[in-house]
């Protein structure tokens, strides 16, 4: 395996496929795109199978020096592995979900395949600049997907998306230049061990934060997300919610936390504050939406806030929980957008009020939609619970206030999701067109059933997903141990009792 550059191949397959799509006609483009994404998925399965859990931190490393220190350097740890798996898993589903696209199909498929290559690149890059290029270039196909194949307001949406992300990118680039200058290397694993001057860390942290907070997105730089989702075609929303939002979280866990541990501890309050606001604020906003996609988009912001509080809990549960929330949200929000797409393709409206009583004529659709709704709500047994529970358990050890406010998300989340479900699936059939819609067709089963299986797998036996990242999380936790602030629980044993016995428990 050492000599087979599997990561480069996984990048190359969609790129070559994308080029081929541009040359072929619509039918061919669809077939090529499906083929290429399935090959990448198969490679992804191989990658996971060959990944040595508990082995070396960085595996499948490739290094091809290009010029003056800049090199084609790839490699993954458990964290990157899981996010790559998420990407290659969702991609074939996106291609299947793009049946309704009928203009410029070749270019559309090419954009998606390019996007896949860039996403894998983001998670696999081990060179700082290489990462930057993948990270920023990933936006271009997304602009195109929204701007060309989007809805009526697509120009405004992609413009907003662009403006927000640009601001963060520029600051991050400047910070990267400074870091390379200071540390004398562009190697990410080396930088993760490098101790920057605490004063400099603050500025670097803020610069990265500007970029990741937008990508995440955190309140108040989240307003591009609802517009982008609403205007994007279904598959665009799936990738946006499923993978692109995870780049922010990935950025925090790969860069901000291990590279700037001091600054991360110093600015934890900022993360906590924004996240707490996000949970309550965006959940309430989600409650009053009348557009299905907007509602789910706002719910994403609330869920991502659980990720950020978990990450900045600085402990194993928080970090691992956040990773699982990201993976779970990648699956669940993708599935929810697909569910919206299924009925949008039939009725061509996203207005919730045009639906109702779908459980009558689309029972299997209603069943799967219920499963994903419950996963979004965080019902135990689904993937949503494991991540949410661990993240919140993590942050509780740091601050009961943050834990309390963030946990109210389980009430608000239930309220807006069930309210959505009720208006779509329950009630009388209000309009004849909606009542005449047929249940899931085989193609749609192929899209939704694998995600449903993954959601349950991650909920019942999350160990498959936790095991690859245990050692990486431990390394980050160790890196943070020196600087992390003390928790607010201040547990104290009773004075009358021997102190030694249970003292250790309070200390973690």
């Amino acid at each position: 395996m050492n000599h087979f550059p599997i990561l480069s191949v996984m990048l190359a397959v969609p790129l070559v496929g994308g080029l081929a799509c541009l040359l072929g006609n619509a039918r061919q483009a669809r077939a090529i795109a499906l083929g290429a994404t399935l090959i990448d998925f198969a490679l992804g399965v191989l990658l996971w199978a060959k990944f040595d859990v508990g082995g070396a931190q960085w595996q499948f490393q490739e290094n091809l020096p290009l010029f003056s220190g800049f090199s084609w350097k790839l490699g993954i740890d458990g964290i990157a592995l899981l996010l790559i798996e998420l990407s290659v898993f969702l991609m074939p589903i996106c291609i299947l979900a793009s049946n309704a696209i009928d203009k410029r199909v070749g270019e559309y498929m090419a954009a998606f395949l390019l996007m896949e290559a860039l996403m894998i690149g983001v998670f696999a890059a081990q060179d700082l600049y290489l990462f930057y290029i993948f990270f920023e270039a990933g936006l271009i196909p997304m602009y195109l997907i929204i701007g060309v194949w989007g809805g009526a307001e697509r120009i405004y949406a992609s413009y907003k998306f662009f403006l927000y992300t640009l601001l963060g990118s520029v600051l991050m680039l400047i910070a990267m230049l400074w870091m390379v200058h200071d540390a004398g290397t562009t190697d990410i694993p080396t930088l993760m061990q490098y101790d920057f001057d605490p004063a400099a860390q603050k500025w670097l942290w803020l610069a990265f934060f500007a970029s990741f907070a937008v990508k995440m997105p955190m309140w108040p730089v989240h307003t591009w997300l609802p517009d982008a989702h609403v205007q994007a075609p279904t598959a665009g929303s799936v990738i946006l919610a499923g993978v692109l939002l995870k780049m922010g979280g990935y950025g925090f866990i790969r860069f901000s936390l291990p590279m700037f541990p001091q600054a991360s501890a110093d600015y934890a309050w900022l993360i906590y504050g924004l996240s707490m606001v996000a949970v309550v604020y965006t959940s309430l906003v989600a409650l009053v939406q009348s557009d299905m996609k907007k509602l789910i988009a706002y719910s994403s912001v609330a869920h991502m806030a659980i990720v950020t509080v978990g990450l900045f809990a600085f402990n194993t549960q928080g970090l691992e929980g956040s990773m699982i929330v990201m993976l779970s949200h990648g699956l669940v929000s993708a599935a929810l957008f697909l569910c919206v797409g299924v009925i949008y393709d039939r009725l061509h409206t996203r207005e919730i009020s045009h639906y109702g009583g779908l459980a009558i004529n689309m029972p299997y659709y209603a069943l799967l939609f219920m499963l994903f709704t419950m996963a979004s709500v965080g019902l135990p047994g689904t993937s949503g619970f494991v991540g949410e529970f661990l993240s919140l358990a993590g942050i509780y050890q740091q601050s009961s206030w943050v834990a309390f406010v963030s946990t109210t998300g389980i009430i608000l989340g239930a309220a807006y999701m069930l309210y959505l479900y009720r208006r779509i699936a329950f009630g009388e059939q209000k309009n004849a067109d909606a009542a005449a819609m047929p249940d899931l067709e085989p193609r749609e089963w192929l899209m939704l059933a694998p995600i449903a299986a993954a959601v349950l797998w991650m909920g019942v036996y999350p160990e498959s997903f936790l095991a690859p990242m245990h050692s990486d999380i431990r390394a980050i936790e160790a890196r943070l141990a020196a600087t992390k602030p003390a928790g607010d629980a201040k547990f104290q044993m009773g004075k009358a009792l021997p102190v030694g016995e249970a003292h250790a428990e309070g200390a973690h």
Binding site: S158, Y164, L379, P380, Y396, I410, E463, L466, G494, E501
Partner: protein
């Protein structure tokens, strides 16, 4: 393989096959499958229960699957069986089995039966996971699982807006409790470094006197943990403040009300407090909270029960009230009595609900007792079953001779409350005595309005529909029957009534010795914090304490008899005299209105404000739109941006940045 695996997973298997097979398998197959699975589960549970009765079984844990391991936070799927679990197993599987059977008759005309039976079995699975939990997280899994099933079953007739709304309300209100439960689990993990229940219980006593900070305040560790966990219990067991979902849950089909909202799910909170009773025992403050909340609930719910007209709502408030009794028992340190009442209540309350269902079935979906009357002769078997249930809930019995089920369990709670000799215990006792009078009154009121007096069926819209539908309505009927002939329910519904009647009559007499007597510690074997000392004190209470429940029971019966048989004009007179109080009770203490005003409306109002003023009016206006406007002022770039040149612009921007990096690197290298 351990039988517990079959008990727990057969219902799940049946639910999955039945739910996915649905119309492919057909009504009968799915019904037989799910009902069969439950009867097997019940058949396996009783022998297991008897091994614990005879003391020949040891507590054991059957591992199933690894679940989560994150740092030191680790929990598995595992099934724990001990005395406490065994009690719950027979309750859950028995009531579930008979409710499955009952639903054959009750849901016979429903077009969507496979879904209904699959939900029932799914519920049973989740409930069994809850009661066999060996760690707090699996308990939470069962907790949420029953919540899901409850949501699905309340909303089973999802076309009805009221049913869909009630389903959401049940889920969301329960989630408020879950907030406490989750924080409680987090705190427990923080303090004990484990979520394993046996480990926590062993180490809980050593935490006495320790303190912890929570939301800025300093608390006794066990007090705050127990209160947080208890908030979860309050949600599931519909205690005062978080009870509002339970009456609305009556929107679900009646078998659901019997199984979930009377016998099993709503008792999960009581089960949790009993399971964790060694933990609660460490904190007298938390115990007092439990007692006060229980006492307040049992009184408050009983007052509302006296005024409702909907037969199911009366029983629903009665359930709420009886759960309050159980919490009082748990709060005064008598978890044995709490579990005993849970056990007997499961039988007689399920019986009352299924009986009510039989009445509703006979009366063509009419649920308003104002349109009942004189049904004793029409549906005699239902009458006798309901009578058994009423005798059980009102606690009819003679000390040291024989009593119906509730006589033993409710009286033991009152004795324990009195014997605990604490202020909270005395409060619980007096509230309990008062509510016992109210219980007797509303229970007999229900019986008299339904089965005695003259028929008042003619005013009922449901009956009128039925009669006109049958084309029998032409003849004049001035006897109040409108020519309607109620029919006794089919055998599938009567057999469950019979089985449960047996429980309502005998469960107390047969089992009180095991649950609550000297030496019951042998039976419980440490699965609850059983106090022999309290049992001893209970025997020593004054005689008037032992007879007081009997006296108030008779008083309640007498008032009901006078008001609804002897002098039927009397209630109207009383209502006229106490108009304001009556309205207050009839409108359920205005909790729904209050919550709507405090939480629901502000949530939507705030959501709109955050969206329209926050996102659109502020962030967008001064963020992206503002910068776009600024750019447009200065150049034509913005205009070009908005006409679709954005993409080339973006590309140029990125290429520029890439070029810049290359240049910097190149510079650095040379």
């Amino acid at each position: 393989m351990d039988p517990i695996l079959f008990i727990v997973f057969l219902p799940l298997l049946a639910a999955i096959i039945g739910g996915l097979g649905n119309r492919m398998l057909g009504n009968t197959v799915v019904k037989a499958l799910t009902t069969g699975a439950l009867f097997i589960a019940a058949g396996l549970s009783w022998p297991m229960f008897f091994t614990y009765l005879t003391g020949s079984a040891e507590p054991h844990v059957v591992p199933v699957l690894h679940w989560v391991q994150s740092g030191s936070l680790s929990f598995d799927w595992a099934l724990r069986v001990d005395t406490l679990t065994a009690v719950m197993l027979v309750v859950v599987t028995t009531v579930s089995a008979v409710v499955h059977l009952y639903s054959w008759g009750y849901m016979d005309e429903d077009p969507d039966q496979p879904r209904f039976f699959a939900y029932l079995s799914l519920f049973t699975f989740a409930m069994l996971m809850l009661v066999t939990a060996d760690n707090l997280v699996q308990m939470f899994f069962g907790w949420e699982g029953v919540g899901l099933a409850s949501y699905l079953l309340i909303g089973f007739w999802f076309k009805k807006p009221s049913a869909a709304a009630a389903a959401i309300k049940a889920f969301v209100v329960n989630r408020v409790g879950d907030l406490g439960f989750m924080l409680g689990i987090f705190g427990t993990y923080l303090v004990f470094n484990t979520v394993s229940i046996p480990e926590i219980l062993v180490r809980a006593p050593s935490m006495a006197g320790s303190t912890i900070h929570f939301l800025g305040g300093e608390w006794h560790t066990m007090t705050i943990l127990c209160i947080l966990l208890f908030i979860g219990a309050m949600g599931k067991s519909a205690q005062l403040g978080l009870h509002t979902w339970l009456p609305d849950a009556m929107e679900g089909p009646t078998p659901v009300s019997a199984l979930i909202h009377a016998a099993t799910m709503v008792t999960a909170g009581v089960f949790m407090v009993c399971r964790l009773s060694p933990m609660f025992a460490v904190s007298p403050d938390a115990m007092q909270v439990v007692t006060y909340v229980g006492a307040a609930t049992l009184f408050f719910a009983a007052t509302i029960g006296t005024t409702q007209w909907d037969i199911k709502r009366v029983i629903a408030y009665s359930t709420c009230s009886q759960l309050g009794y159980m919490f009082v028992a748990a709060g005064v340190g008598a978890p044995g009595a709490a579990m005993f009442h849970l056990f007997t209540h499961a039988f007689f309350k399920a019986l009352l609900f299924l009986g009510a269902g039989s009445v509703i079935h006979a009366m063509h979906h009419e649920q308003d007792m104002r349109y009942y009357g004189a049904l004793r002769k029409q549906i005699p078997l239902t009458f006798w079953a309901m009578l058994a249930g009423t005798l059980a809930i009102t606690g009819v019995g003679i000390v040291d001779v024989f009593g119906f089920a509730g006589f033993y369990s409710k009286d033991s709670i009152l004795e324990a409350a009195y014997a605990s000799a604490s202020v909270s215990g005395r409060f619980g006792f007096w509230m309990g005595i008062t509510a016992a009078l109210l219980t007797s009154f509303y229970s007999w009121r229900l019986m008299f309005l339904t089965f005695y007096g003259k028929p008042r069926w003619a005013q009922s819209e449901h009956i009128q529909h039925a009669v006109h539908g049958d084309h029998h309505g032409h003849a004049a009927h001035d006897d109040g029957t409108a020519g309607y002939h109620p029919h006794e329910s089919p055998l599938t519904m009567l057999i469950p009534l019979g089985v449960l009647s047996l429980g309502a009559v005998l469960a107390g007499f047969a089992f009180s010795h095991y649950f609550i007597s000297d030496g019951s510690g042998e039976f419980w074997r440490g699965s609850v914090a059983f106090s022999e000392e309290l049992i001893h004190h209970m025997h020593g209470v004054p005689d008037w304490v032992k007879w007081a429940p009997f006296a108030v029971m008779l008083t309640g019966f007498a008032i009901a008899w006078y008001a609804y048989i002897r002098n039927p004009a009397f209630p109207a007179v009383v209502v006229g005299q106490i108009g304001v109080l009556y309205k207050f009770l009839y409108n359920k203490w205005y909790f729904d209105e209050l919550y709507d005003f405090l939480f629901v409306r502000p949530a939507f109002w705030l959501g709109n404000k955050f969206w329209k003023l926050g996102d659109v009016g502020f962030i967008d206006r001064f963020g992206p739109n503002g910068s776009a406007w600024a750019v447009a002022l200065g150049s034509r770039v913005a205009a070009r941006l908005q006409t679709g040149y954005l993409y080339s612009y973006a590309l140029v921007m990125l290429l520029g940045l890439t070029g810049a990096i290359s240049w910097v690197i190149w510079q650095a290298a040379h």
